[in-house]
Structures are given as C-alpha cells and as structure tokens.
C-alpha cells in the first residue's frame, strides 16, 4: 500500500512536470482554450481502449495524434481559424467518447484514477514525461521565436512547420500521459493553470518555465496527499489545488502592482 502510494505520487509529479512546462508555451499564443478542448479528443481513443481491451494510453495518444496532424494539415492547406476547428471537432469527439464509453467506466475516463495504474505503466509514464521535458527544453528557443513571428523564424532558417509539428506531438504525448491518472477532461487544465499562475509572478521566461513546473509539482503533491487522506479520486483535487495557487499568485500580482 505504501509503495503504491509513493509510486502514484512520483508518477503524478512527473505528469505534472511535463504538462506544466508545456503549458508555459501553450498560453503564449492565447491558445489556452484550444489546449483544453484538444485534451477532450483523447476521450474516444480511451473509450476504444476500454472497449477492446488495449491500453487506453495508446488509444488516447492515437486519437490525439490524428487530431493534431489534422489541425496542422488544415492550418497549412486552408485558411480556417484553428480555434473554430478545435471548438467544433473536439467537442464532438467528447460527445462521441461519452456515448461509446461503458457507463461504469465513464467517470474514470473523464476524471482519471491514479490508483488503477500498474507499476509498469508508472515507469513508462515517468520515462515518457522525461523525454517530453527534454525535447521541449531542446527546442524551446526555436519554438519561442516561431511563436513570436513565423516570418522571423523563417528568416533565421528555423524550420517552422517542423518545430510546430514536434510541439504538437509533445502536446499529444503530455495529454495522453495524464488521461489515465488525471482524466481526459482535467488534463487540459493541468497544462494551463500552473503556467497561468507562473505568468502572474515571473519576470523572465526562464522564471516563467521554472515557476510553472514548481506550481505543477505542488499541485500534484497536494492532490495526491489530500486524495489519499480523504479517500477520493485525485484528479479533481489536483485541479482545485492548482486553482488555489492561481488565486494566490493573482493576489500577489495585484499587491505588487
């Protein structure tokens, strides 16, 4: 029991680190809602995994991947605004997911259950989180220039589309890593909220990334401990902790200015 508690804790911390680091890039472009809605796409994939007994992580990752390649392709082939596409397709996939997931599994699919994660899955999640963090740190400068201005990126030979694609892949990976423990519905918030809090207090971009990760870790620890103490599922507590941190950081910003 003790071992599985600490395993859950460490897994949650790693999921949080990769999600919150990613978040500091997601909110740069005011893409918060896109990110949030995008995480819902995991739901139908997760449902298929549950129905046909394969790992829901793989199902979620695959549907996210299809959606992301779809957006990326459409963005360059048409001039449709990305947020409109996201709003339409992703809410639809949420609806489809809800319809095909067996009712008794629905709650877990939407809000996660970290206790149901096996030892092997935890190790896998930790390794993939580390990979996602490393890739993000490696491409961070290019990614940032590309977000500031695509033309600027192109003028210094940054391959914009490639960078954008890697970024979307990392996005899919980070969401998929969290769907089993935090839930497909809540994962988007875990990406956004720590970064939004960090934005309130950071003065530099390095500080912004660091604070975002720190807030992600604190939310994970608070979430797992209180869920254990109260015997409830940790996903929602996770998000509530993150939101409390956001409120505190917002007050801090107000007081400082």
């Amino acid at each position: 029991m003790e071992t599985s508690f600490y395993l859950s804790l460490v897994t949650a911390i790693f999921i949080s680190i990769s999600a919150s680091l990613l978040g500091s890039f997601v909110i740069l472009k005011k893409m918060s809602l896109v990110g949030d809605a995008l995480s819902h796409v995991a739901l139908p994939g997760l449902a298929l995994g549950l129905l046909f007994h394969f790992n829901p992580f793989i199902g979620g990752f695959l549907t996210l991947l299809v959606a992301i390649i779809g957006i990326w392709f459409l963005k360059y082939q048409t001039n449709l605004p990305v947020d409109t596409l996201v709003g339409i397709f992703f809410t639809t996939s949420l609806a489809i997911g809800v319809l095909i997931i067996p009712e008794q599994e629905l709650l877990e699919a939407m809000f996660g259950n970290i206790a149901s994660i096996s030892f092997n899955e935890s190790i896998m999640t930790i390794i993939l989180s580390i990979i996602s963090v490393i890739i993000l740190l490696v491409i961070r400068k290019k990614l940032l220039v590309n977000m500031l201005s695509e033309e600027l990126a192109q003028s210094i030979n940054i391959k914009s589309r490639q960078i954008e694609f890697i970024y979307l892949l990392i996005f899919a990976l980070s969401v998929a890593l969290g769907i089993k423990s935090i839930g497909a519905l809540l994962m988007g918030s875990l990406i956004i909220i720590p970064a939004a809090s960090a934005k309130n207090i950071a003065k530099s971009f390095n500080g912004f990334m660091a604070w975002s990760v720190v807030f992600g870790i604190i939310s994970a620890i608070l979430g797992i401990y209180s869920a254990n103490a109260l015997s409830i599922t940790p996903g929602p507590i996770f998000i509530i902790s993150a939101t409390i941190i956001f409120v505190i950081s917002f007050l801090f910003k107000k007081i400082r200015s």
């Binding site: 977000m147 033309e151 600027l152 192109q154 210094i156 934005k199 003065k203 530099s204 912004f208």
Partner: protein, 235 residues
C-alpha cells in the same frame, strides 16, 4: 553585385494571382522601397522572398546570405514574461554579452533595458530592438515590413534614423515596405510601385510624381513638394 534577383515571380491563391510577374534586383548596399495600396500584395511578396509560401518564378539570393527580417509586430500576448536580454539570446547560440552590448549601441538603447520585459518598453523601442535582433548575426540585407506601422511620429523618426545610420555603417542592403512616401523619398535609392503587378520601378525622384502615384493608388493622391524639399535641407 546583385544580392537578390527576382524573376517572373507570381504568387497565387486559388485562381487569383496576388502578385504577378514581378522582376527586380537588389545590389549590395542598395535601399529598395516597395510602395502600394493596402491589399496590393506587398506582404505576400515578402513572404515569398522568405520562402514561406509557394510561388512560381525565381527568387535567387546570393549564396550564404544572412537575412535580417524585421516584422511589423510581434504576435504574442505582450504580457508574457520575456526579458529584452532573453529575447536577444533567442537569435542563436553565438550571441554573446559583448555582441549584445554592441548592438544596443547601434540601435541606441541603454543597457538598462536588458532586464525589462518586452511588454514594458515602448513600441518604438521594440521596433529598434527587432532591428537589433536581426543585426546580431551580421546580416547582408534587412527586410522591413512597415517597421513603423504601430509607432507614433516621434518613434518613427528614431526607427528610420537607426535604419539609415546602420545602412551607412555596414553598407547594408535594405528592402522596405512603406506607406510613408516622405520616408521613401528620404531613404530609398530605388522605388517599386506594386499593385499586384509591378507598375513602375526607378529612382524616387522619377517615381514619386503624381502620374505614377495616381496610377498606383487610383485617386487624387499626390506627393507634396514642400515636404520633401524640407527633408532635403536636412541632409
């Protein structure tokens, strides 16, 4: 020596040609201004030069050319925590403190600005900073897409003074999209009038005559003599 040669450049969107059959060249140290009404295809032309969009025809840059591009504006939320120093460091891995110091001198900004957030400095300062950013890797040519679109009159002057100063200092070539005919008259060696096609190309004194401008803008738009003679005195 040509550093850019464009031949028969056409960019299409669906069935419409946004720009069509454009030919021009830019020599080392030369300033080319591109003028034309809104929607004439000026920015599209730039995007084609930067190879951001598909085009037909040929765009030949001199081998191993270093481009400096100065966008109209930065597209992210200005509230974001990104310091001026961090922004300059994004240019590449060879950016050093010494280089940054030098570039700040060229664009006449104080070193104190390095610790400021990008959102805290004025728009004029930000545009000069973008110029500085492109100077970090010793460019051969600078491309400006209406560098002062969001800048007030006072800031505009400082941006153009910076451009002109740098151009003389480094013998830089410049391609400049501008609405401001005074600026074009004052700084350009060559002007191209663009309205989907290239309507005229030549020296500013030849081009900025009411005839050409009327053809370009299609209205009663003239270039006021007293304005440019005034600027001439300043030179």
């Amino acid at each position: 020596m040509n550093i850019l040669k464009v031949e028969n450049l056409t960019v299409s969107l669906g069935k419409n040609n946004i720009v069509e059959n454009i030919d021009f060249e830019v020599k080392k140290g030369e300033v080319l201004a591109i003028i034309g009404p809104n929607g004439a295809g000026k920015t599209t032309l730039f995007r084609a030069l930067l190879n951001l969009i598909p085009y037909s025809g040929s765009v030949k840059w001199q081998k191993n050319i270093q481009l400096g591009y100065v966008p109209q504006r930065i597209e992210i939320d200005m509230d974001i925590p990104l310091t001026v120093e961090e922004f300059l460091n994004l240019r590449g891995s060879n950016v050093t403190k010494i280089k940054i110091k030098k570039v700040l001198e060229y664009i006449q900004l104080d070193e104190k600005i390095l610790k400021s957030r990008l959102g805290e400095i004025s728009v004029g300062q930000r545009q000069r900073l973008l110029i500085g950013w492109s100077l970090l890797e010793n460019p051969d040519i600078l491309l400006f897409d209406e560098p002062t679109a969001d800048v007030d009159i006072h800031g505009q002057e400082s941006v153009y003074k910076t451009i002109s100063h740098l151009r003389k200092k480094f013998n830089l070539a410049v391609i400049l999209i501008s609405h401001d005919l005074n600026i074009v008259y004052q700084y350009a060696d060559k002007v191209m009038c663009l309205n989907h096609r290239s309507l005229c190309i030549g020296k500013p004194s030849e081009i900025l005559q009411t005839g050409h401008l009327q053809e370009l803008y299609g209205g009663e738009r003239g270039f006021y003599d007293h304005d440019y003679s005034h600027h001439n005195h300043q030179h």
